[in-house]
Symmetry: C2
Subunit: 895 residues, 2 copies
Amino acid sequence: MASVDGRTKWVYFFGAGQTEGRADMKNLLGGKGANLAEMANLGIEVPPGFTITTEACNEFYRRGKRWPEGLEEQVKENLRKLEQAMGRRFGDPANPLLVSVRSGARVSMPGMMDTVLNLGLNDVTVQGLARQSNNERFAYDSYRRFIQMYGDVVLGVPRHLFEERLDAKKKARGVTEDPQLSAQDLRELVEEFKGIVRQQKGQAFPEDPWEQLRGAIDAVFNSWNNPRAIKYREIHHIPGDWGTAVNVQAMVFGNMGEDSGTGVAFTRNPSTGVKEFYGEILINAQGEDVVAGIRTPLPVAVLKEKMPHVYAQLEEINKRLEAAYRDMLDIEFTVQQGKLYMLQCRVGKRTAMAAVRIAVEMAQEGLIDRQTAVLRVAPEQIDQLLHPTIDPSARVEAVAKGLPASPGAAVGQLAFFADDAERMADEGKKVVLIRAETSPEDIGGMYKAQGILTSRGGMTSHAAVVARGMGKPCVVGCGALDIDEKRKIVRVNGRELREGDWITIDGSTGNVYVGQVPLVQPELSGYFATLLEWADEFRALGVRANADTPTDARTARQFGAQGIGLCRTEHMFFGEGRIIPMREMILSDTKEERERALAKLLPLQRGDFYEIFKEMLGHPVVIRLLDPPLHEFLPKEPGAVAEVAREMGVTPEVIESRSRALAEANPMLGLRGCRLGIVYPEIYEMQTRAIFEAACRVAKEGHEIEPEVMIPLVGTPGELAFLKERCQKVAEQVMAEQGVRLPYRIGTMIEVPRAALVADEIAREAQFFSFGTNDLTQMTLGFSRDDVGKYVPTYVEMGLLKADPFQTLDVEGVGQLVKMGVERGKQANPDLVVGICGEHGGDPASVWFFHEAGLDYVSCSPYRVPVARLAAAQANLSKPRAGGKARAVEAHAAD
Amino acid sequence: MASVDGRTKWVYFFGAGQTEGRADMKNLLGGKGANLAEMANLGIEVPPGFTITTEACNEFYRRGKRWPEGLEEQVKENLRKLEQAMGRRFGDPANPLLVSVRSGARVSMPGMMDTVLNLGLNDVTVQGLARQSNNERFAYDSYRRFIQMYGDVVLGVPRHLFEERLDAKKKARGVTEDPQLSAQDLRELVEEFKGIVRQQKGQAFPEDPWEQLRGAIDAVFNSWNNPRAIKYREIHHIPGDWGTAVNVQAMVFGNMGEDSGTGVAFTRNPSTGVKEFYGEILINAQGEDVVAGIRTPLPVAVLKEKMPHVYAQLEEINKRLEAAYRDMLDIEFTVQQGKLYMLQCRVGKRTAMAAVRIAVEMAQEGLIDRQTAVLRVAPEQIDQLLHPTIDPSARVEAVAKGLPASPGAAVGQLAFFADDAERMADEGKKVVLIRAETSPEDIGGMYKAQGILTSRGGMTSHAAVVARGMGKPCVVGCGALDIDEKRKIVRVNGRELREGDWITIDGSTGNVYVGQVPLVQPELSGYFATLLEWADEFRALGVRANADTPTDARTARQFGAQGIGLCRTEHMFFGEGRIIPMREMILSDTKEERERALAKLLPLQRGDFYEIFKEMLGHPVVIRLLDPPLHEFLPKEPGAVAEVAREMGVTPEVIESRSRALAEANPMLGLRGCRLGIVYPEIYEMQTRAIFEAACRVAKEGHEIEPEVMIPLVGTPGELAFLKERCQKVAEQVMAEQGVRLPYRIGTMIEVPRAALVADEIAREAQFFSFGTNDLTQMTLGFSRDDVGKYVPTYVEMGLLKADPFQTLDVEGVGQLVKMGVERGKQANPDLVVGICGEHGGDPASVWFFHEAGLDYVSCSPYRVPVARLAAAQANLSKPRAGGKARAVEAHAAD
């Protein structure tokens, strides 16, 4: 606590060349107070005043809601200073000083006390104001407003009582707008308002300006702990002991004629980022009038003609403020009879597009350095730049909410079956495919649809995974949908929609809207590319993509992925015409049948791998062997069953019975991942053969290549050792056949909790780890990602979870296992490369954690690669990693 | 290594008053050598001889299979000593010394070298033997046997060549048995055998006794690393550097007339444990003859009449041996012309029943102390005492193998449906119920069946859990069964069985047999009770039972449970007539419907709790609120659906559609446990009310009671805090209504891996923890307990898992989380009581781990309580816990 002459300093003066505060004193003076002081320090005209510190507020509470020792004295001293600066006196009948009183915490808190304006008016001073302004109506209108505000905010008189009386007055005078009331009307209203106060509070409205001020300051202090403020602090995790400052400032009036006005503006365009003075002004009005919406504001540019000297001043001030704050600012100002006063300045909010452009241009202008530019854009915003979004000006209400499975918004006509979606799309219609859940049979329709909506499933259900891969908007697990497939009707919260009805989905929020909601199309600017290039310079964490097809791989490269961290071999079989041999393989009863089916799959996989390797030349490609529960691929509809039966030369009953035998109670914890490779070794052998045959072909074409084979769902070192040996055997065989020698790597997923616990033992068998945080989250929390729709939203709502753990890593729980896995793994095998390839690889908060946990790279879906690049850079700039860049980045820097 | 006069001592003499070894020198002399030395030390007559140490064997390998420096010298010295002791000389034509050569490792290893007898015979000495024994036939028979054994064991001549020649000789002579061959025949055979050796080895059979001995010793050394021995060591985890000793011992002959003989016996009855000399003897025979099965042995008791002085000597020796070894012994002896020689003694194998009785009686006799008695019985054996077992003498082969889900064997006629099982049982038949998997609807039939057999499901499937609760034999997950319910046929490995066919299952091994296999019924002796009482004195770990009904609770008390560690409230509704309101509750669509159904459940639960509390007066009862996925209770058959629909006044279609809505992809990771309590608070409120209303009634009857409420599946401290608060509210309400004040406790299961990771935070909200190691194993390993049948058996077979992790805790993986949970929990809350209530609570190896991990108690199914009591005592005796008994035991010691 500052002290002067042994006294604690509770009050800081600003303006009139006597400013005591600075911008960096926000903790003590609050944001508003510190910024006012800073503007004054910069030589910018602000109405003078003083700030009572947040410490005074805290002391007020410590003393049982009594003013701290010395505060009254200091307020009075500063009031005298203010009187001298303004040449007016508080309560002076002829030349009264009027002030505003505002709260101002360290951060803006909309839940707190409103402003009190025109404080200092009473039955005597109002006449002085009338004489001085030569405008009786203005004086009584100000007085009327003061009583209303003070009554509401300080005395707690219900607001509606004043408003009803005002309405009654207008009715009595046969008018509809406030300005139509005369000075006499307003004078009467003043008396009536005072009557309301007397009746409600049992005592007269305070006429003594000091008493008024004292009450207003008390009210600001008290407002810190009103229920709204407490609730707001809870939600935003703001500590209760920050306290609020109180700003007492001389009044200036924008409503004193055509040479007066009030404005709100930005130093640059907050929507586009263009470097232009952007905002609105109301001539002959006070700030209040903007809010009331009585008159339409004009663009600030009109000042260029109407008050050219003011406009020039504002431009100059903007430049000075940006130089001081090194950011785009949101400013408020008032012009009183041709004189410009700045009332407020703060860092301005902006769209993603503006954020990127402003950051890049400011760095180019030399206002900030590149590091700062990279830190200026929130990675969460990046998604807006890559996908269509709901027009923020659209006034629409969601009819239901599901899980935001793949970002972006889509508008289309409802199709209930994949076939219908294809047909309708071929007719030139825009389609949204709605299903209970999707299956591989739906791929064609999904591809043709604008977006996908399901009533079941979680963030990693088939629909979600495929949609993200396609970069297509998708909302899943929207339980409110009651889909009647047979009749092609969906009921949702009392509405009934049919095939062809329009619907809009927002895959970034999970919202579902009925009808066509206007969208804003994304635009990828050069600024965006520049910012991400800068980000790449500063990050320690490598960024790869999860890509399962050559198309995905191309997209991944375009978004700047440094390799493929996860190529899911099973997704290759979701494609058309490929599901049949896959099903044959799964439904085989004997090794021979299975090998026959695998022989059909081999050339398909080899071809895909070859294409992917070619797309990614010079970059690592990690290919994961078959992972999911086999039943995911089983035919569900009679037609599909018959087709597989025909192909395999058995009856449909046989296929159905084998399908039943494959059914599992909890397939996520069943026969999948490396367990498949152990129970049916021929599957992994075929896949390994496909990988190495493809790699050998690439090598023979003269390229360097080092395939990486990843074994999923390992829980014990023995599993990995066993499968590694078999994999090496096939690799050696193929290389001998092809007459080619290749370097290659074999590693594993860490996704079973046990694997993290025994990571040291597993690391002795592995060349790399990749954390499968989707499965690790499922098992560590015991949450089935396909079923969480039934309880996770409730949990997040109740605060039992901070976020959906499938979106943002559960650092306290799952994070412990990740840390354990990295530490134990790297200790046992210092050459181990460690990455993560779950959905969390594209989540900024999670990326931050992975940076701190010492991972080498993250891998995420292609469309999230830019987000990850930016988040990784910010993490490293904020908390630089010891030892510099990770091996994964270094290793491929030369590629 | 011992050394004498600077030379390493490789050879230890025994017998003839010159013994150099002792019983505690097993590591150096092997088991056999040390025991021979010990007997000699005890003044018991053994044929003298010497032992070449295991160190010599190791040195032999270190020197590339050459004898260690000084060994030859020492063997020769000891041979001279032996000659002196016996008054015969090696190779002496008139009075030849004959010896046996045997291997003898630290532990008995059946895979190693066989014995060589009669070594020292050759064409010259055989005549001396003939003269001395005055029995030419005996001499040549001995010679023939020697060449055969030596040829096989030392020279590696295929055994069948000798046997074929022997058979040819008998054929030529027109006889069928060996003893019918004359001395001349045998003399010819000797020559023919030598011919075989010459032909096979290209050199003559060694005539020089020293060369014979040297070859035999080499052969023993070499046998340590023959493939059979290596395999045996691998399986039994015996280190390869233990080496084997070699025992060279003077021959004695039990086949020198009616005053000779050879016997194998036990100091006490190894089947029953009765203190009686028990074994068999062959008069005028060598040990070999017993094995050959040519003659039927007589009970040793015949010696009382035939050779009373020998019998008296044996009784005296038994007493001396038991006093020395403080255990029941297995002995071998030979009587040569009236003189008794002991050939071997070792601790005898015994049945569970005998083990218990011997341990208790020896302690009562003062031979051992009670601690030792408790350590003498393997807890794994206890099961044999509690359940019928397959008669070990039955020669049967299993037709299939499933998981051993509930111990004991059962014989019955096949029933394919629960209704059939009930009907058949009512007709007086013994029934085994066979199902793909069981559901609550099958309870009636399960209850009436002798045993239960399923083709699906794991160790904790419905069938397994219910069967264990009933103490009924059960085999689950027997994948080889192909059940055709419609036709009531089951196919299994090529056989076809129908309703009414006899089948036998062994729930202790998982074996399934076709037909009626003879069983041995268990018998619980007073010795058993005594041993367990003693065990209770020595253990630190409390033992409680998992009991869900008043009947279970009674059983638990009878088996000595110190309380109920887990009362599963859902199992109460598996009972007849109770499933309907449960289904109503689950299928309710609105809170009102649900509350109506809950109101029907309340009195049922309250009644059960009251009965359980009364059974367990003075002991803790931990009641777990509803845990399992709701779909477990859903009606599956049309009849059941219709019944629920009728009860609820809706159509069957409505019930079916609600059932579908409740279906989950992975129910084990779905809406269950505390998630149910959070999403549908009224369920837990009803259960809490039932608990406290029951407890208040007990209290009003004048008993002290402290109910403990356990919240399942908690993963975050917030879940527990939220539910605890609601639970406390209901508890306070009920106590106010009833006018009773009770102490009570609220705690949680630790079964989600995350809960173990944040155990410190959870412990601040909990009064007790109970590890749910079933679920913890499922999630930590990612193994669905219902689906593991598809891969865990393969894993165990391949050595990828040491044991089924649902039977024996995975200490390396899951164990880490248990330790973490205990440590973090107790550190954060020193008053925390920590138990475990998974199936592992009754597994001896797991109990050992829980003891070491510092848990307060284990809780297991009632029939495993004795196992747990014994295992807990052994763990504490072997590794006493610092700080003595656990709180859980102390707390209820006074009960």
